[in-house]
């Protein structure tokens, strides 16, 4: 198993004496089994958690089948977003155009499901045959009196990151449509924020929202976890945008700053250290003594609450060798810090969408000898995890079974997770998850098998 020559610049070992200069932000190499998805996927996963919107996929059935309820993000009210809506295009729609079918589908679905807004996703086929989504959506918007927003997400028109931008554009349009319906510009609400880039997986957004409430900060809109159309349209009333997953929502945050004058701040609630730093940074922005005091009190209360249990688990994690392969770079950075706090050694770090700055930062955070990779594939992962003698991989479902075949533990840090990994309590859950996987006796049995080589019963 060898790394393809064209991939060598994307997989590098950190050296003590030279910079990393990792190649990145390129289209995936044909035939390389990238773990990335497509433009549509990027847009779909970002918008999907908006709960009271109807997410209609204009295309053949596959795109809708594979993304039905894909994120497991939770809702406090509407459940419309958990359905999978498709125009289920057939050959005749491809030949004669799908606009008529889309029109009728919109009418049928809006009447039946009564959503607050509709997002219409274009897929590969729509990008090729050139259905005019803008026109169909505009007509439907007039007819039904609710925002109907096209999402330009044809699978081939860029990478997953282009899909994040398409989603950002769609949310921006939703916000502007809200503004247009208002008679006058609304006042800013004091001590208020919007949350960007948290998708309320395993209630993580609610955990953070509770912290903010306790320190005296009001959350206006959540984008997009447990998102509600009305709240998102109220987003311009907030003083500050706090941005967690910068890879997916950074584009929207920048647009909101440039065009609607809402400043943003990058934060992360993964790991105790980042949680504390983020809370302090948010409190610092508002320059208010009461908020600062509340924040310190909250940090004192929360961090002592779980520390003894975390210490207990830590003993089983210390010194273990960890590999990380996640979508966004922000998460990789938080994970590196979390593992450092657990005295584990990070030996491999990869992301699907990191940029040059991200990789330099990651390189600065890790020890010499660590392998850092962009848009890696199963061949490289198998090789690197073996070479680096990793004990556990943090990743998504496609990598999970590769780890198991290699005989190492796994932590799910993707859509699939059922336990919250954010905030102080998330730090406990995270530590428990790592401990549970690493300490299972199965790895010792598998190692014994490996050491023995061929199977002998006597």
């Amino acid at each position: 198993m060898d790394i393809l020559s064209e991939r060598k610049a994307f997989v590098k070992r950190k050296r003590a004496d030279s910079g990393l200069a990792l190649d990145c932000e390129k289209a995936s190499l044909p035939g390389a089994v990238s773990q990335r998805a497509c433009v549509f996927c990027g847009a779909r996963v970002v918008l999907n958690p908006i709960t009271d919107a109807l997410h209609l996929i204009h295309g053949p059935i596959g795109c809708a089948s594979y993304t039905w309820d894909i994120r497991g993000s939770l809702s406090s009210e509407s459940e419309i977003y958990r359905h999978s809506f498709s125009t289920d295009m057939r050959e005749k729609d491809v030949i004669f155009g799908g606009e008529k079918k889309l029109e009728k589908a919109l009418e049928e679905l809006i009447n039946k499901f009564q959503p607050r807004a509709v997002f219409v996703f274009s897929t590969c086929i729509v990008g090729i045959i050139g259905d005019d989504l803008e026109a169909v959506c505009k007509a439907a918007e007039r007819k039904f009196g609710l925002p109907v927003i096209p999402v330009q997400s044809s699978g081939f028109e860029g990478t997953k990151s282009s899909g994040y931008r398409a989603a950002g554009d769609a949310i921006f349009r939703l916000i502007c449509k809200g503004q247009a319906f208002r008679s006058e510009k609304e006042e800013k609400i004091p001590f208020s924020v919007n949350m960007l880039g948290d998708f309320n997986l395993a209630a993580e957004l609610w955990i953070v929202k509770d912290y903010l409430k306790r320190i005296g900060i009001k959350v206006i809109a959540t984008m997009t976890g447990d998102g509600k159309v009305k709240d998102i349209q109220d987003a311009p009333c907030a003083r500050l945008n706090i941005l967690q997953c910068a890879g997916s929502m950074g584009y929207l945050a920048r647009r909101l700053k440039e065009e609607l004058d809402i400043p943003f701040m990058k934060i992360s609630f993964f790991g105790e250290l980042d949680t504390i730093n983020s809370l302090r940074a948010i409190a610092g922005f508002f320059e208010d003594r009461r908020i600062r005091e509340n924040t310190e009190r909250l940090i004192r209360e929360e961090s002592s609450r779980y520390s003894s249990r975390i210490e207990k688990y830590k003993k089983g994690i210390e010194g273990k060798r960890i590999a990380i392969y996640v979508g966004g770079a922000f998460k990789a950075k938080s994970l590196i810090k979390s593992f450092r706090a657990l005295d584990a050694e990070v030996v491999f770090v990869g992301t699907q969408t990191g940029n040059r700055d991200d990789y330099e930062e990651i390189s600065a955070m890790t020890n010499p000898g660590t392998i850092i990779a962009d848009d890696t594939n199963p061949v490289e992962l198998a090789k690197c995890l073996g070479e680096q003698k990793a004990d556990l991989l943090v990743g998504g479902v496609k990598e999970r079974y590769l780890a198991y075949k290699l005989g190492i533990g796994f932590c799910d840090h993707n859509h699939e997770r059922k336990y919250p990994l954010a905030g102080f309590v998330g730090d406990l859950e995270f530590t428990r998850e790592i401990y549970t996987s690493i300490q299972s006796p199965v790895w010792k049995i598998l190692k014994r098998e490996k050491d023995a080589g061929t199977l002998r019963y006597c």
Binding site: D2, G31, G59, I61
Partner: protein, 456 residues
């Protein structure tokens, strides 16, 4: 049912997924999806979650430029890179919505590559599988047929080269369809018991359910040898588990037309009647008695049908999933006196409606689980039977869900469920009856108290 323009919550998938299923049945074979990167990634994720196995699928990763100027160069590059990374014996090149619509000529690229690239000695099979032309199961049948069209012959290459010492053992082609790895192991065991050489076209028993091994293998061991495709024309017969799928895509019919190999198209061997028919066909090739191990299990099935008849009779089950499997389970449940008032499947090409003569059945052929929900709102149902796409309805209506078919994303061991043969039917009847038994034992005291105690 009113006409629908949208499909909500589909219980079916698109064609390239079926191509992957077919390719996984052959030794060291990968699927290359000629299209944008997402298709391969989504399908890998879907399959990995079902089988709990790593599943590699290659993509030609088309982008905007390729969509305008054609994706042939990407395809060539992808073929080269695939061969560099994986030690392969065959590649299935399946088209997607994108490559099909921009009009890439995959066949021409393959010819080019086969001629011009040194080391590209392995067969490259192209199959047209755009999502808008059919479903998951059609992708499977088309791919098996395409592989046979390209490779099948009357005899194996070594026999052609005059290998006189080789004794040609008579064999039967079996095209299993979309079953489980455990089912495939059952077919092979049956062949051993009967002394018939079964050539499975193909066999994903190991490739989708690989044992843990001390050394990691990028391509799991297993799969039928490619020679099975080459020799397929020399078989005694082809048995294909396909009744409701149109004949036009049938690999068995193709082999019959080209090589005069008798084609037997039958339902999955599930349920007493279907397994009996399958056994009967097999005995025509092997005039001996069916071994005791099999007849004993047949007897156990009869016994189980008697044991469970009261909890099963007149119970209403709603079935959803691949229409061929829906058809088989429908026939089986009717043997037990159960009713199947609604059937949900998404293959528009399916002949299910024509095959089921019974009146009063609702066919939801859009594959929409939401339409099923609306139907359940006004009809009585006792059991949901199908893949994990029924999980939300099960929770909402408090109905038991017996998980069978693809995908099963919320349980373990999908690859090890036996669904075929007398044995597979036994596990179906036990599991079905136990769904009802569990409900009776959990609630009979409460229900009787609620009904009668207040009167005393």
């Amino acid at each position: 049912m009113p006409e629908h323009y949208a499909t909500v919550n589909p219980c079916y998938h698109c064609m390239p997924l079926g191509a992957i299923f077919a390719a996984k049945g052959f030794e060291k074979t990968l699927t290359l999806l000629h299209g944008s990167q997402g298709c391969a990634t989504y399908m890998r994720r879907h399959l990995a979650r079902h089988f709990h196995e790593p599943v590699d699928v290659v993509s030609s990763s088309l982008n905007e430029k390729d969509a305008i100027y054609g994706g042939e160069e990407n395809l060539k590059k992808a073929l080269r890179n695939t061969c560099k990374q994986y030690n392969l014996q065959m590649i299935i090149v399946a088209s997607t919505c994108l490559s099909e619509t921009i009009g890439d000529d995959i066949g021409a690229v393959i010819k080019d590559v086969e001629k011009g690239v040194p080391g590209m000695a392995i067969p490259l099979v192209s199959v047209s599988t755009p999502s808008y032309q059919g479903s998951f199961s059609r992708g499977y049948w088309k791919t098996i047929k395409a592989a046979l069209e390209k490779l099948s012959g009357k005899s194996s290459p070594c026999a052609q080269e005059g290998d006189k010492g080789r004794v040609e053992k008579p064999f039967i082609n079996i095209i299993p369809g979309l079953v489980t790895p455990q089912d495939l192991r059952w077919f092979l065991r049956l062949g051993e018991l009967l002394g018939i050489d079964f050539h499975l076209l193909g066999n994903y028993a190991n490739t989708f359910d690989a044992p843990w091994e001390t050394s990691f293998k990028l391509m799991p061991e297993g799969g039928s040898p490619i020679s099975y495709l080459r020799e397929a024309g020399a078989a005694l017969a082809t048995i294909e588990f396909s009744v409701v799928h149109p004949e036009a895509d049938s690999p068995a019919v193709f082999l019959q037309q080209k090589f005069d190999v008798p084609a037997f198209r039958m339902p999955y061997p599930v349920g007493l009647d279907a397994v009996d028919k399958f056994m009967k066909v097999l005995t025509t090739f092997r005039g001996e008695k069916i071994p005791g191990e099999i007849t004993e299990n047949r007897g156990r099935l009869l016994d189980a049908m008697a044991d469970a008849h009261k909890v099963l009779f007149a119970k209403k089950a709603v079935l959803f999933g691949e229409s061929e499997y829906v058809f088989s389970v429908y026939r089986t449940l009717r043997e037990w006196g159960m009713e199947c008032p609604a059937l949900v499947y998404g293959e528009r090409e399916s002949l299910l409606k024509e095959e089921i003569k019974e009146k009063g059945i609702t066919f939801i052929d859009s594959g929409s689980m939401f339409e099923l929900k609306e139907w359940i709102n006004c009809n009585e149902v006792d059991l949901l039977l199908g893949s994990s796409v029924g999980a939300s309805l099960s929770l909402e209506f408090g109905l038991p869900l017996l998980r069978r078919g693809f995908p099963i994303h919320d349980r373990f061991g999908a690859g090890r469920v036996l669904t075929v043969g007398y044995e597979g039917t036994l596990s179906l009847i036990d599991d079905t009856a136990n769904m009802f038994a569990a409900e009776i034992h959990a609630s009979f005291r409460r229900k009787l108290k609620e009904s009668y105690l207040w009167k005393v």
